[in-house]
């Protein structure tokens, strides 16, 4: 038994490792960016520009990890509030902070109960007994969703049916698995899902302004490499990929 474990360990430990030409950077990014950023990083690596290690989670989780000392080079948050949490802890290189992307909210329903809303008021209907949104206490998508429903005068009707999720993707999964009857997610999340369909897209002028800021973490050991990646994200090549996944440019 021990010999087997030792053999396995040795096999991994001694595997040839190609030394990367450029130091890898660690990027903590909002989970709603998972698909788009992974695609961009592949392009980035293919061009020999460098290796990106991603840590995807709800932005409030990422902010708390950074505040608690997680070794992160670059933080991309789904809202300004969580970026401010890191800023208040004095952990940002403030001059590197930029608004990167914009997004919109959408209501999704399970594929097998596909429908299109005539208005957002439909969400208050009896068919929607469980509505998944990011935890409105902190998860950006949930905070945005609550702001939107409050503006539409629907929050008090919907709040008792809310299933707070750990992240926007968790809310999406709740609908995909059929556990929730509807979810409020980003339009970009709805787009990558094959098991949930869009019932309602929140028009940009009706919903809260959704902006994704990016900034280099003060304790980063690779600030120059991090800046290069931010520049790439803001380049025409980066914008093309983001656009393909439904994100808007914040400039």
């Amino acid at each position: 038994m021990f010999a087997t474990l030792l053999a396995i360990w040795l096999a991994f430990a001694c595997a040839p490792q190609n030394a990367p030409e450029r130091p890898a950077i660690t990027v903590s990014a909002a989970v709603s960016l998972t698909t788009a950023l992974t695609a961009i990083a592949q392009e980035y690596a293919r061009a020999g520009s460098g290796t990106i290690r991603f840590n995807f989670a709800a932005s409030n989780v990422l902010a708390r990890q950074i505040v608690n000392g997680a070794p992160v080079d670059l933080f991309i948050s789904a809202d300004a509030a969580q970026m401010d949490v890191v800023a208040r802890a004095g952990l940002l290189r403030e001059q590197s902070r930029v608004n990167l992307l914009t997004n919109q909210l959408a209501v999704v329903v399970p594929n097998d109960r596909q429908r299109t809303f005539a208005s957002i008021n439909d969400l208050a209907g009896q068919a929607y007994r469980r509505i998944a949104i990011g935890d409105p206490q902190a998860v950006p998508a949930g905070v945005y969703a609550k702001q939107y429903l409050e503006r539409e005068g629907l929050w008090s009707a919907i709040e008792p049916r809310v299933v707070p999720s750990a992240s926007v993707r968790a809310a999406l999964v709740a609908v995909e698995s059929g556990a929730a009857d509807a979810a409020i997610v980003y339009r970009t999340d709805a787009r990558v899902s094959t098991r949930a369909s869009v019932a309602w897209v929140v028009a940009a002028d009706r919903g809260p302004r959704i902006v994704y800021p990016a900034a280099i973490v003060r304790t980063s050991t690779e600030p120059a490499e991090s800046q290069r990646f931010i520049d790439f994200l803001r380049s025409a090549a980066g914008a093309r990929v983001f656009e393909r996944f439904g994100f808007g440019s914040a400039r």
Partner: protein, 196 residues
């Protein structure tokens, strides 16, 4: 903050889960200790599986079975029974995760002699109860974290921590540690009374 509601809800669900697993758990423990039957090792392995599997994976299996589209969920839905995202899911997740501890502990008692099995059964039940109190991974997947509806101590601590409400998390931490300590202390006392 709903310290009492969360604590009471957690203890109630853990008690319910322990009550549910006791009859089948003791039966399986007895069979494993006293009977030789084909598939014995298989039963033993299956029962112990939740002990070593990632709790999140166990939760995922439960969700796949019980959601509206799942094999069991479909039948339950036609009967008008909802499990996912309700207290029933909390109890179920706790029961599945507590079962291995009950069976393994009770089994040890049965292998000595029948009258002496009691302390082992009780110790097993207390262990299952304590494990149920702390259940997190399967619960968050199949029951979610709905305030006032499915939020247990473990899940609430996680949710409060994630949303930056450290003080609330701290209070619940003390509550959860105290209950777990009492349960384990009791189980250990029972185990010590058992003849070696």
């Amino acid at each position: 903050m709903d310290l009492w509601q969360i604590t009471w809800f957690t203890v109630a669900c853990a008690s319910g889960a322990t009550a549910i697993v006791l009859p089948p758990g003791v039966a399986v423990a007895w069979a494993l200790a006293r009977r030789r039957f084909t598939g014995r090792t298989l039963v033993e392995t299956l029962v112990s599986l939740p002990l070593v599997m990632p709790p999140v994976a166990t939760g995922l299996i439960l969700l796949m079975l019980l959601s509206r589209r799942g094999a069991i969920g479909r039948i339950l839905e036609s009967a008008g029974i909802e499990v996912v995202f309700t207290w029933k899911a909390v109890v179920l997740a706790m029961a599945v995760m507590g079962l291995p501890l009950l069976v393994r502990t009770a089994r040890a008692g049965f292998s000595i002699s029948l009258p002496l099995a009691w302390p082992s059964i009780v110790a097993g039940a207390v262990l299952a109860f304590a494990r149920a109190l702390g259940e997190f991974g399967a619960t968050i997947i199949v029951a979610g974290s709905i305030p006032g509806a499915t939020r247990t101590l473990a899940v609430a601590i996680y949710s409060y921590t994630e949303t930056g409400q450290d003080r609330q998390a701290g209070v619940l931490l003390v509550a959860s540690a105290s209950i777990a300590f009492l349960a384990l202390w009791y189980a250990n006392r029972l185990a010590e009374r058992r003849p070696a």
